[in-house]
Amino acid sequence: MINRVLAIALVVIVALTSFISTQSLTAKHYEDLSKYLKDQLKNASTPQEVHYAVTSLLKLGGGELEPSLVSSLCEKVNKNIAKVNTFSADDLYHTAAAQLALKCTIPNEQKFVEDFEKRLESILVDLSIKPISDLSQVYSATRALLLFKRKLKSIPTNNTLLNKVFNNISGRYTDDTGAFCNKSSSAEKCLTDTGYAYESLTILQSMISDRTKLLPNLVKISKKAQDLIKQAANASAVKAASIFVRGLNKLATILPFSKRITRREVEDSATAFQRAANDKLSLQNVYDLVEGLSAVSSSNIHIPISVSSIERNENEYSFRVTSPLGQPISDSVVKLRAVYPGSNQDDSLIGRPIEIKGDKGTYTWKDASGQIAESAGSYKFDIDVQIKGETTPYTRVFKTTSDKLDITDVNIVLSKLNERRVFVDEDSARLEKQGETLSRDISTSVKSGEQKKLIVSFNLKGIDAQQTFVRIGDEKRESTAVARKMGGAYRAEIVLDKIARDLSAPLQSVNPTGRYDVQLIVADNALQKPLLWTLAKINLDYQINVKPDEEGRHYDRQKEIVHKFNEPAVRASAGIASIFSLVVLAPVAVFALGLLAIGFNFNNCPSGLAGLLAPVFTASVAGMLAVIGWYFVEINIFTALKYLSLLGAVSVVTGAPVLSAISRRNVQGNALIQEGTK
């Protein structure tokens, strides 16, 4: 808690440092990466791991490997070469790459090469006829072909096959995206697939005898290369950026990109790798990082330049001009065009541009006037780097502090309307003495609305600090105010009743009365260590109610929620419900007794067919009622409807003749009665 502001200040300093720091790999990066790769080599077990570790180490200039290590690695690489006819494209590529990197002796080399070629040929035949879904396989196959080109007999001269594979790969290009992906693909997949395609097509074109005919195709598929290289600079996945940059670099050996892609764009494409240099190490990441940076450093489009930040040693100011991999660039001419404070070049400390001679990529300029050392502020260094007749300007900012750094005229004033008490008046200390407390004790009461202020003012000499704060707090709680520069002096005003919320216990409504430190914090990226200086101790007696803020109210005890469900309906007891069930059956008894009293009459029962159908009709009606009862107990509506419709059909078919027969009989009977009465 007490160091929270200090921590923020440190983060800003680090961020600023990395912003203006070197854009190439530093010596520390080299050291860490080389050490990591050597460790990985000891544990590498597959050809892919050996390939990645060895090639990355060689590109970093990691030195010769011990012969015993080389032979054990070769053993691991050659362990499964007897099964080369089952290898995938990736296996072929990694095996070939690892063998070549380690210069392994291959047992039964002739047989191995023959089997290798057969297997590669079958993979290429598949790639020539089937739609290509995974461009990484194409890449691996073409890389394996390139690496073993001198050893293979038939494939490098098989123009038909190579042309077919070339056309099949080109067929994946779409005008919609200008790349080897469709619109729904992510940016990273697009970069990866396009990088694979560029490199594979370039390799194939170099082997096909009638290669000039393929140039228009290559020009067409690289139309959007300039947009894609900008995407690579912003890619969050280093693998995607690495694959694209390598593919583009390969394609640049055939096509002239120098007019379409600027040097700055090539340099910016190294950004993704520079970001990754500080990431957690993994073999894949390191391989992609090193391959990507190598491709950028040895770009066939423009030679990218990395200009480091300015470092100071007394009155000498130096910077490095290197490739993104951190290696010096030969044939470069470096001129220091201007050194000036602020933004006005006319204030340059040097009258005219000076050419500086470099020493292994490091260029040094001496400030004879010593002006930079005496002042505090920012100085801009305008640097021109000329390579092959092309000049590119760079600007680097150097932040400086004076050799004499002081805090002077420190005043602590407690003020209220019509009242002003001064506690510290014109005290001062050198910045080195930040550990001392001024031993001032201040006591005051704070009432609501009286606007009592604690005003701290001071001057800073020898530094133009980026961050100046005044802190009131203890180990658990604090309130911080920014000290703003007003007319040369810094001033912070803290309204004591307004900071009560900050000093109260977090999220609660505790009165913040207590003893606190009044501290001054000064931070700047030019300072190695931020300053924390306790100016005084203050006893605050708060006579106000501290109400919780929005967040505090959220965590406070809330009003109890009463459920809003419907109140359960009044229910009869089991006894009453049972009695009711019996009472409801009483009318059934009345009905039954009434039936007995009225009597039954089956005289009108029809005869003949209708007589036979009458029981069926009655049974079907009873069946329908039974299905309805069954529906209540067990079955669902669909089953019930099914049975009801069947029984309904039966009752209609049987009921119609039965009721018709009864009706005819009644009509005939009535007619006879009427005749009889006549």
Binding site: A569, V570, R571, A572, I576, F580, V583, V584, A586, P587, V588, V590, F591, G594, L595, I598, G599, N601, V621, M624, L625, I628, G629, Y631, F632, I637, A640, L644, G648, S651, G655, A656, L659, S660, I662, S663, N666, V667
Partner: protein, 113 residues
């Protein structure tokens, strides 16, 4: 005097009912009384105890009332004294009545839940 007349009237009504009313119609009247009594008992229960479970009460009560109405309509169509205004034969009316009852029972069972 007036009370004796009422009892005499009622007795004569019953006697004429027994004599003049066809057996078929008596059966129907009996069924009407049955459904009416059942509906009345359910209503009294609802007033005394409450409507829980409401859907079951509604289904049962209105089924009884529906049956009562259908049966009254059947009586009108079957009774020779009143069937003259209808163009359907009593057997056809009975068939319609069965259909309406089955449908009512099915709906009631669905609503009971």
């Amino acid at each position: 005097m007036a009370n004796e007349n009422i009892f005499e009237i009622i007795a004569k009504l019953v006697e004429n009912y027994k004599k003049d009313t066809p057996q078929k119609v008596k059966l129907i009247d009996l069924f009407i009384v049955f459904t009416g009594l059942t509906a009345a008992i359910q209503f009294v229960y609802r007033v005394l105890v409450g409507t829980f479970p409401l859907n079951a009460f509604l289904a049962a009560f209105f089924t009884c009332l529906s049956l009562l109405v259908f049966t009254v309509a059947l009586r009108k169509q079957v009774n020779p004294a009143t069937s003259g205004e209808f163009r359907v034969v009593p057997e056809r009316a009975f068939g319609d009545y069965i259909f309406c009852c089955v449908l009512t029972f099915f709906v009631a069972m669905s609503y009971i839940g």
